[in-house]
Amino acid sequence: MREAIIEFSGVEVKYGEVEALRGIDLKIPGGKVTVIIGPSGCGKSTMIRTVNRMVEPTRGTVRYQGQDVKTFDKIELRRQMGYAIQNVGLIPHLTVEENILLVPRLLGWSEDKKKKRAKELLDLIGLDAGKYANKYPSELSGGEAQRVGVARALGADPPVLLFDEPFGAVDPLKREELQDEFIRIQRRLRKTVLFITHDLSEAIRLADYMVIMKDGVVVQADAPERLLKEPGSDFVEQFLGTDRTLQRLTLLTADRIARPLRAEKEEFVGLSGVSWKPLEEGEILAKFKKDSGEFAYRTVRVSIHAARPYASLKECVSRFLALGLPAIPVVDDSGKVVAEVLFDDIQRITKEG
């Protein structure tokens, strides 16, 4: 491993009787993304909070650049470490620009330097400076707010970033977008990042080094490829395993397993036996045979029940549940029925996984 910039040795934290951390020994490589993952309550937040002294260890030491963090002034230390959290915590009466310039302001930067920095930061996180600089946090969407939270952490260009589920409060689709941005930014900046998540696919996407925690101890820490290949314990295997199926459902899209339909008059029929008849805008009439042999009908609302070709299989599953038929139709962007996805096919994939 390269030079460790942050080092935990024998770190224990007790809140009264509760042991949040039970002896952490860990080296965090400099200039890399270390993702800490584990079930909630495993002590991951407590762990990164010992780094900037938001939490003081009951026993053991945390070192930053070889020195015990206790020897640093708390305030100085925190200003060297960008901090972003799940619920962002933007200051509501300050504009986006004022929020992201918070640390530069505390450090007493000149107005010119701050103005320049604000523009740089907004460019970096992909928000148009002209449009967003003077907005207030209440005017931002969830994803935009989380971007601004990240920009604020980057404010004075600190060498270390402490991210506690910084993309935790947005929907999966937006989250992937934010991850892309993060990867792009990190390629340029090469910060030492401690990143907490409980989302395995996020961890695998972002991590150079992955730390799996449970009940206040580190279960395993390694590069993600090695972790997936050689899980060192049942816990790690289970942890990676149960989610692996879901992960595949997230990665696969509907068009990968969609079945073709043939046109019969105004209807489309395929393997499922359901015939799909487009009605007016946004609705399809589904005709299917009940177990008793009689025909039954159901109105399919495209926005709720049908899948786009690029929808993830995870999304398809929820649409199946909403419709309650053995298949759902796939519609293209113009709203035309082009194929169907069978529930059986999805089941097959989950079994393979």
């Binding site: 938001m54 305030i75 230390l77 960008g82 962002v88 915590g89 200051i91 640390v103």
Partner: protein
């Protein structure tokens, strides 16, 4: 833009109405002739329409003076206490402050005045004390609520980014708490405006004097005259408060 424009127009209109009301009130307070004119139309058979010795203008001035000083005292003490008990080093006193506050609010102001009378003597001092104690609750309680309304995530982020406690107080917490504090001040002021009238019992002056005098001589015109002024000031200040700080 249209929306903003119309709001500005509404503000102007409200401002004009307030200015007009204030003008009418001033005319009424300053001119005994107007007072007589108004009151005679309502109570044609009253024995008199003005206080025998003190002018309405003087009473109004004393009344406002008492109200404002009591409110100012409550603000200084209440905000200080509210800030202190919401700091990390003062948090242990929070329950004490809340209880003391509730206790003070439950004391009837008239009882305070009578009890303080032997110590502070005749005049405005016991009244000021009673008003101050009575209006401490809204100010302190609203200050505490204001500071408690600051989200935990906001505080966590502020700490994590390296703000000192004082910086956090001024940059983050105070602006968020401010509307609540202001609400407390408004409440305290209106409360004092009404309660100050009972000070007349021990010679504090103010608009209570004309009301008392009316009650004693069974002259409803005098009671109404004092009440008109008090309630007009209350209405006016209420809308001035909301004009100044409401639209934010």
């Amino acid at each position: 833009m249209i929306f903003k424009g119309s709001r500005k127009k509404d503000r102007k209109k409200a401002l004009a109405i307030n200015a007009f009301m204030a003008f009418l009130l001033a005319v009424y307070v300053l001119s005994p002739t107007v007072q007589k004119l108004v009151l005679r139309s309502l109570f044609p058979n009253a024995s008199s329409y003005v206080h025998p010795r003190i002018s309405l203008a003087h009473m109004t001035l004393v009344h406002l003076g008492l109200t404002l000083s009591a409110t100012a005292l409550s603000v200084v003490v209440g905000v200080t206490v509210g800030v202190y008990v919401t700091r990390s080093f003062g948090r242990e006193y929070l329950p004490l402050a809340v209880r003391t506050n509730a206790l003070l609010q439950s004391l009837p102001p008239s009882a305070v005045i009578i009890l303080a009378f032997p110590i502070l003597g005749f005049g405005w001092k016991p009244t000021l004390l009673a008003l101050f104690l009575y209006s401490l609750l809204p100010v302190a309680a609203n200050t505490i609520i204001g500071f408690q309304s600051v989200g935990r995530d906001i505080l966590d982020a502020a700490d994590g980014l390296g703000m000192k406690e004082v910086q956090r107080l001024w940059i983050v917490e105070f602006p968020i708490a401010f509307p609540h504090i202001l609400n407390g001040i408004r409440h305290a002021f209106i409360l004092n405006l009404g309660t100050a009238a009972i000070g007349a019992v021990i010679g504090a002056g103010g608009l209570g004097s004309i009301i008392m005098s009316g009650l004693i001589s069974n002259n409803s015109a005098l009671v109404l005259s004092g009440t008109i002024v008090i309630s007009s000031i209350a209405l006016l200040s209420e809308s001035v408060f909301s004009l100044m700080f409401g639209g934010q």
